[in-house]
Amino acid sequence: MICAGKTRRARTVLLGLLFLSPLYPCPLFATVTLQIPDVNLPDGKVEFRPGICDPTAVPATLPQQMPQSTTSNYTVAVDLGNTTRGSYGYFIYPVYVHPNGGQGQRCAFRVQVLPSGTFIDKMQDVTFHVGEGAQLEDGLVRIPLYNFVYAKSILQGHAGDQLSPVSLSGSTTLDVTLNNTLSDLPIGLYPEVMVSPGHGSYWQGTPQAAVHIPRSNSTVLDAGQSLDGAVVLNLRPNPWHALGASIFPLAPGKAHETLTLYVSYDSPGGVPGTLEIPVAIRFSPSFWSLILSVFVGAIAGSLLAQLGKTSVDGMKWYKAFVVALLCAGIAEVLGIMLVYGGSEFRLFGFELDPYQLLPVGAIGALVGLVGFRNADDFLKLLKKQP
């Protein structure tokens, strides 16, 4: 009995010495324990490592906005407003434990959250065990889990059209659609959007873009939201440089210029990212520019026809000119309608873009050359060559 008593006393003294030793300089304040088991996800895993209980960092009351869970004796709250990102692939979540009766130890835990795998940020029910000594109580709290490496970007975006038409003169506004692929978390967008033009000389100054969410002062895309016009791109081409870039014929599906937008975002509490959105541009002259071009082409074609004496049936020059002008105008309008309807517009078997100045001038010239002969000649122009 004496030996047992001595042993107990010695053990107590040893424990006391150990507690006071420099190995425990960061005080072990209380016996409240928090355990959070790992969360396994289909495409990853999250480990939780609660630190030691710090009673000095606990707020007096737990704000209702914090995700909370109550067990028989404790309320556990996660302070999502104060999560931080560690430098080496982890997050820190402050977690507060309050005794329900008001009596007992309050604790703040600095929980290290270590994600791995390629899962995207999501809300998740996380189980925890809290209590003193060996008697721990179970609870469940729903919190966001963030990752550092995604299989694909959590924000996606594209311009409205595959090939966005931009007027050669004046300013054009283009809408860009953004899509939040997270099913249960919002994505915050930074208001400034950087625009990088492929050719700076095509533009008057640097093209500007900005996030534009209909609700005032909001730059948040809700969970799963897809919003047309979430980014508005304002473009003012440098007319002569843009004309130079677009005057030579190019297949209708090809871009004259590609701008890249850099949209910065994060899921609040997660890691910031940048989405790159390429916007393919095709410069398009105004309708009146096209009509002017086709008429100039028709005049040139008629003059050439007169010089080459290709007129037949003794038709007067001015009559041939009027016929050429009309036919060229009809050909251009027909071409615009055909292409607008998804068809091809061909002249001598070549696919031409009736929205571009040089091809339109060529249409006018060709029609001017032969447009006055007869309807058959005119129709032959439009046939696809074998």
Binding site: C26, V149, Y150, M194, S196, P272
Partner: protein, 299 residues
């Protein structure tokens, strides 16, 4: 798209994002999201007495350790997220090396900056970089991968474009900061999840446990003359020290000053003064030999 095209595209984008392309597109850094005050996450001392401080969102500042004067080099490093930083004098030139990563590109980037803030050089890694340490004697950079636990090395003498594998710290929860001992040909590595410190014998590439029982060893700094390793413990709000020449090295407390809230960076200057970058306190602390805070600077 061919792999070379992809590579060119990646390099261009990365260079663009870092604001290093001299084509008038270098506005990216200045357009970085305006954030809250940036708590410092790394600190490194140059022999001249200048301290380099890295903020959580990439702000680079210089502190004159004598006067406490602050010079802002960069407010952001583009849209890359900074992980770690080391400043070093090689020859007559001071350089700042910053390890960065990007979630979308899923690749790490090591960038070298001049003391004027100009980006001089970049290297890319297979995966995300984390800790960085420099052996200025052998002109070698060591880089850690937080998730895989791999440590790579990169020679500054040669024309290496990417780091080569050196050793793997197996079983590590999260490989964190590194510190190099040039004279002893050793590398120290911390497991920020497990609270342990390892030492790698570089010639043999053998690894052994140096210390354990810490909370979150978020930064390391080695004082070569005193053969002492300092460890900033972010979760236990204290600074540990380990005498590495001891036959059985054991961590002991160097400082648990009440000002320490979340020490995430640590460095020892030429006078053996310990400086701590505290993320939560938004401050850089100068510690006395007894571990007391004798000066506080807000970078």
């Amino acid at each position: 798209m061919t792999s070379s095209t992809k590579k060119i595209a990646f390099y261009s984008i990365a260079a663009l994002m870092l604001g290093c392309v001299g084509s008038g597109r270098a506005q990216m850094a200045s357009q970085a999201p305006p954030g809250k005050a940036q708590g410092p996450v790394a600190i490194s001392a140059l022999p001249s007495g200048t301290l380099v401080v890295l903020g959580g969102r990439g702000r680079l500042s210089l502190i004159d350790s004598t006067s406490g004067g602050i010079t802002l080099l960069k407010d952001s490093l583009g849209y890359f997220t900074p992980a770690d930083m080391a400043a070093v004098r090689i020859g007559d030139t001071d350089s700042i090396f910053v390890a960065l990563y990007n979630t979308a590109l899923r690749q790490g980037l090591l960038a070298r900056y001049s003391l004027a803030g100009a980006q001089l050089q970049t290297w890319f890694g297979r995966t995300a970089f984390a800790g960085v340490a420099i052996d200025q004697v052998h002109q070698t950079i060591y880089l850690g991968d937080a998730v895989t636990g791999e440590i790579s090395s990169l020679s500054m003498n040669g024309n290496s474009t990417s780091p080569s594998f050196l050793v793997e710290v197996s079983g590590v929860t999260r490989l964190g900061p590194l510190a190099a001992d040039a004279a002893g040909q050793r590398l120290f590595a911390a497991d920020v999840g497990g609270g342990t410190i390892y030492v790698v014998d570089l010639p043999s590439r053998k690894l052994r446990l140096l210390g354990s029982g810490m909370g979150e060893p978020a930064a390391l700094s080695y004082d070569a003359e005193q053969q002492r390793l300092y460890v900033a413990d972010a979760s236990r709000h204290c600074i540990w020290q380990i005498s590495t020449n001891s036959p059985k090295p054991k961590p002991s407390i160097f400082s648990s000053a009440p000002e320490l809230r979340e020490p995430r960076g640590i460095t020892v200057d030429a006078q053996h003064t310990v400086w701590v970058a505290d993320h939560a306190a938004l401050a850089v602390f100068k510690l006395s030999p007894a571990g007391l805070v004798v000066q506080s600077i807000s970078p």
